[in-house]
Subunit: 378 residues, 2 copies
């Protein structure tokens, strides 16, 4: 049987907002949208194995090219028959270009930078940024790695994720408009080169064009027009999305209507519960975030009534599950009191059980969002 080609279909548009229900078909299965994409940087969701992730029903997982290039390296994944095969996941995968991580090395912490707290700085790992691309030293073995639009796409072709992302430059938040425009133009040249490299070796992968431009209306418009002109299969909204929720909402409000509505869009790196309440009505189809899994490892579990801090003393003798109505493995088998104890005792199973719950919560939350859209309630 031939693998499915990539396609996207909008099934329903809310009468109340720009929210929409859709279906992305990929060679490794269907992604119902809107949906949450789990972050599996190194080819695994932290504290879970991929078969467990499969059972939880996470339809799309995000892996990071930069990390995978450094460890285990391209050669290993190539010999292992591609990323799906290597990591034991037969559901859809998406990889990024590596640009985000490389530039966060150049400009300091990504969060600082995106939230405008950072200053432009260089650490030792980034060696050179030119029109050709970026060279950096592997933090693992010190070897020199050159990342260009062509090499990033070549790596992502070998990884074989269902969706791939062109190589882009991540400009710092504080950049002035003139410099930001220069960075945007370079990103566009790099995206064009990435797309050309992608189209030279046609396969079943889809490439999402990345929209940049920070929070500047003109530059976002310029970027939307650029990516819309090219035969990308979808769009990823990247770059700085603002220093707070308000700036992000405002940016999405003017950006999303400028993208071809028949193609799927993805919001890079933003998927916390509060943001979702705003981004889904604006028409976001997918988004990735490490928030639910990171929160879990810090003992914060998500429920419909709000988050629960498992380490709080009140859960010491609370023998009910996290959520009596939750059907996840953790809630079916273990109590708050036991989870509290496992976190207190710093047992590794604590991190696994909390992550199972939070990922299951996200899967159900997105299912619920889709139902609300069908009912025109959002």
């Amino acid at each position: 049987m031939e693998a499915n080609r990539f396609s996207f279909e909008v099934i329903y548009r809310s009468k109340k907002s720009s929210a929409r229900v859709g279906k992305i078909i990929t060679p490794h299965g269907v992604i119902d949208t809107p949906n949450f994409v789990g972050v599996g940087t190194n080819g695994t969701i932290k504290a879970l194995d991929n078969k467990t992730v499969h059972e939880i029903g996470l339809q799309l997982m995000f892996c990071n090219t930069y990390h995978l290039l450094v460890q285990p390296g391209l050669d290993v994944i190539a010999k292992g028959g591609g990323l799906h095969n290597f990591i034991g996941r037969d559901l859809p995968l998406i990889t990024d270009s590596g640009g985000f991580q490389v530039f966060s090395l150049a400009y300091g912490g990504v969060n600082d930078e995106l939230k405008s707290r950072g200053e432009k700085k260089r650490d030792g790992s980034v060696l050179k940024i030119t029109e050709e691309g970026v060279s950096f030293r592997s933090y693992r073995d010190g070897s020199k790695i050159l990342l260009t639009p062509e090499s990033s796409v070549a790596a992502q072709k070998i990884f074989g994720a269902d969706m791939i992302i062109p190589f882009d430059e991540l400009p710092p938040y504080h950049m002035k408009k003139k410099e930001l425009n220069k960075s945007l133009e370079r990103t566009h040249r790099w995206e064009q080169r990435s797309l050309e490299a992608h189209l030279k070796c046609p396969n079943n992968q889809a490439m999402y064009g990345v929209v940049h431009g920070g929070i500047d209306v003109d530059l976002r418009k310029k970027s939307c027009e650029f990516v819309s002109r090219l035969p990308f299969d979808g769009y990823a909204i990247g770059g700085s999305v603002g220093k707070n929720l308000e700036e992000m909402i405002s940016m999405l409000q003017f950006t999303l209507p400028m993208l071809t509505p028949e193609k799927p869009n993805h919001l890079l790196g933003i998927g916390d519960l509060r943001s979702l309440q705003y981004t889904i009505p604006l028409g976001i189809d997918t988004c990735d975030s490490s928030y639910p899994t990171k929160a879990a490892r810090h003992g914060l579990v998500l429920t419909k009534k709000g988050p629960i801090k498992l380490l709080k003393a009140q859960y010491n003798t609370d023998f009910s599950p996290i959520d009596p109505e939750c059907s996840c493995y953790t809630c079916q088998h273990y109590s708050l009191a036991y989870l509290h104890h496992l976190f207190k005792a710093k047992e590794l199973s604590a991190y696994t059980l909390a992550t199972i719950h939070n990922l299951h919560f996200m899967v159900e939350l997105m299912q619920n969002y889709r139902e609300l859209i069908y009912k025109d309630q959002i």
Copy 2:
């Protein structure tokens, strides 16, 4: 249905050695012997949850009273309906008395002490050792905890493990015979008090008398005679078992024949693969050890052909499972190369997947030992 009372039956005796196949019946199910007992100090095998441990088929789990008293505390487990209920395990459990850990605080590291490298020393946590018992400070909240034969048994009754152990003194390896004899006599008085406390509240728990005496023939004999005279349900071989395998074998050779053969015996804390080759032919029924799970977390996985160090460079591109013939979850789903990668990337799933394999290996290994005994091959 009334819960099963504790009983033990020897089903087969090897014609080649003192090895025997038996069956321990407990209120929470059967333990086939000889068997390996997993260490779940805080009420969980490290890196696994208890339902997964159940699926792997581990028939008996060992929890530590000292740790459980400190965290979550007796009160929490009492309110939670006992240990089985609190931790979500409905297969057999065994708890120790807390003595071992308390005395290891007084005399330094347990391993150092048992292996004769230690010197008698006190740290701040042990406050007082008297005929009454031992008082110590909780490492968690600084509260004072008094552990006596009576309070240890009372705690173990509330925990409700299928098998419990009387309170004993752990003498340091270097003790001279005269002092060791004094310690032994105190242990015997404490064991007697423990047994009396146990028999005052008859329930379905079994109590194993602990045999002490270090590596001294006379003292081991004295201890065997003492515990054999009392209505214990089985025997645990404790105290110093020697500074190397040879000393332990020699000690077991003269100790085991002095115990009532109709009752089950347990070797405390020794269950590595090399030791098992010697202890099973000598007639050991059960033994606990953190070796297989600790080894797993260090990337050492067990196979019939010897242990594999997952971090070795040669496994970088080895896409076969740990053992092609192994039916464990890890071998069914993941390759050596992927496990190598997870360990390199320090992903938590590495520890879980390696632990699943090693625990499964131990379960199968013990099954195999039982078959060899039936065939008189050991």
